[in-house]
Amino acid sequence: MKKLLLIALMASALFAQVKQSEEIAVPYIPYPIKMGKGFNAVQANCLTCHSFGYIINQGPQSKDFWAGKVVKMVVHFKAPIDKKDTQTIIDYLYKHYGNGKLK
């Protein structure tokens, strides 16, 4: 009996099962965002709310599309992006993740 108890104790120490009620940690993934003019504004404004994965995984898009996305962040999601940064970010997104079309 004693021996069994000891084994049980050892097992619980070795394989201390994580309870669901314990805290989880969501990993950080370094998405390979392109560097270039305007990147600082992108990093300062966009990363507060979402990963670069959101940008990369939209697919190549028109300038109008990217402008619409940035405006949506300001108008609907209330991101405090000033006018100058808004234009800088749109230009950056179109240059690096554009499809060559304005509309």
Binding site: Q20, V26, I29, C49, K69
Partner: protein, 398 residues
């Protein structure tokens, strides 16, 4: 057919296809995306579009089985801040608004004071397969794995509302979860449903496939609305609020909507002026086995497997074609015991008789006679929602 002739035909077909795609609004969704080596909590490594908020897609092989395991189940959040710890001692769900008696209930009381019910239901993001659309529709470019099917256990929403007692002018129910934005002014991810849309199949679930919900799928509690797209299946549900009027909300008024016309479609440069919510799922099937680019021995016995589902109307047939859609043959369906909202598993055994590329297609048909269109016949919408083209995989027969 001689082997050389076969190659000629398939080349011609391939040529037609590649010319076709540039003119058509949809083609096969992306497939074979990279699986991130890094696993998220309580998940196996998955296709990972974003870590914050987490966006994880299940790879195709998962759909060879009609139940999606919790570790493989897709993940989609809207806000960057998700609670990474929930204390079940203090966690409460609140029912408030136009009710006779507002109240809060703990998970323990939910499990012991109400009738416990189960429903097996498919859960699919409205933007599942969005990568099929041309020109690219805005949003995450999901392949076909932003979906899954689980057995959910919980209590009926109706029972919670009955305990609170609805006031006479109660009409809308708002659901709020615990995810939050970086800025307090950002709208919460609240969903509103009309009371009359809610039937007894709508449950507040705390278990998924006989286990607690994984954190990333909404631990400890989420809304389950069988037959509808997942945008309203609020995760980490904390508040149910009854109102008389519809409140204007971003996630109801702008996101998750399609053109309000018969075809639910529009031209990329001429958006349709009015929209409607995506709500009920259309008929769809996905092949889980074999996968694209698999190598198969000529003359060997292979079993195609996959899943089919709709809004609960009920799948009656899944048809398989191995000649690019010229002829169709019925697959065998599972017994359907999991219910009308569940993935219906299908299987189709055959022996390939010719070497070279072979395309296998699946087409689901439901009780109303609705069937999946060819990808090329799917019309475009700006949100890239509700794609349900005939699925196909192409393998190499050697």
């Amino acid at each position: 057919m001689k082997r050389r002739d076969f190659f000629k035909t398939s080349l011609a077909a391939a040529g037609a296809l590649s010319i076709g795609t540039s003119l058509e609004a949809a083609h096969q969704p992306k497939d074979g995306q990279v699986i991130s080596p890094l696993a998220f909590p309580e998940k196996r490594p998955m296709i990972t579009y974003s870590d914050r908020p987490p966006l994880l897609e299940s790879p195709r092989h998962v759909f060879a089985r009609p139940i999606t395991e919790n570790d493989d189940f897709f993940v989609r959040w809207h806000m960057p801040e998700i609670p990474t710890y929930i204390d079940l001692e203090t966690f409460r769900i609140k029912v408030s608004g136009l009710v006779n008696k507002e109240f809060e209930v703990s998970l323990h009381d939910l499990k012991t004071q109400y009738e416990q019910v189960e429903v097996t239901a498919a859960l699919q993001c409205g933007g599942n397969s969005r990568s099929a659309f041309t020109p690219t529709a805005g949003g995450i470019q999901w392949g076909s794995g932003a979906m899954g099917c689980a057995k959910w256990k919980g209590v009926r929403l109706r029972d919670l509302l009955n305990r609170a007692g609805l006031k006479k002018d109660a009409k809308w129910i708002g659901f709020n979860g615990l995810e939050t934005a970086s800025y307090y002014k950002t709208p919460n991810f609240i969903r509103e449903l009309q009371l009359e849309e809610l039937d007894d199949h709508v449950i507040v679930a705390y278990e998924m496939n006989d286990e607690d919900l994984p954190y990333l799928n909404g631990f400890p509690l989420r809304l389950v609305i069988p037959g509808t797209y997942s945008d309203s299946w609020v995760k980490m549900l904390s508040e149910i609020r009854v109102t008389s009027d519809y409140e204007k909300l971003f996630f109801m008024d702008i996101a998750y909507r399609v053109p309000d016309n018969e075809c639910e479609c529009e031209e990329p440069h001429k958006k349709y002026p009015t929209t409607k919510p995506i709500t009920k799922m259309n008929v769809k099937s996905v092949i889980g086995y074999p996968e694209n680019d698999a190598t198969i021995q000529n003359g060997s016995h292979i079993v195609v497997r996959g899943v089919a589902f709709d809004d609960g109307t009920g799948i009656t047939d899944v048809l398989i074609s191995t000649d690019k859609g010229k002829t169709w043959d019925k697959a065998l369906l599972d017994n359907g015991e999991a219910g009308r909202y569940a993935f219906r598993g299908f299987r189709y055994a055959f022996k390939p008789k010719t070497q070279g590329k072979l395309t296998i297609m699946s087409k689901a048909v439901n009780r109303s006679g609705e069937e999946q269109p060819f990808a090329k016949d799917i019309k475009w919408n700006h949100g890239g929602y509700k794609y349900n083209g005939i699925d196909e995989v192409t393998v190499e027969v050697i």
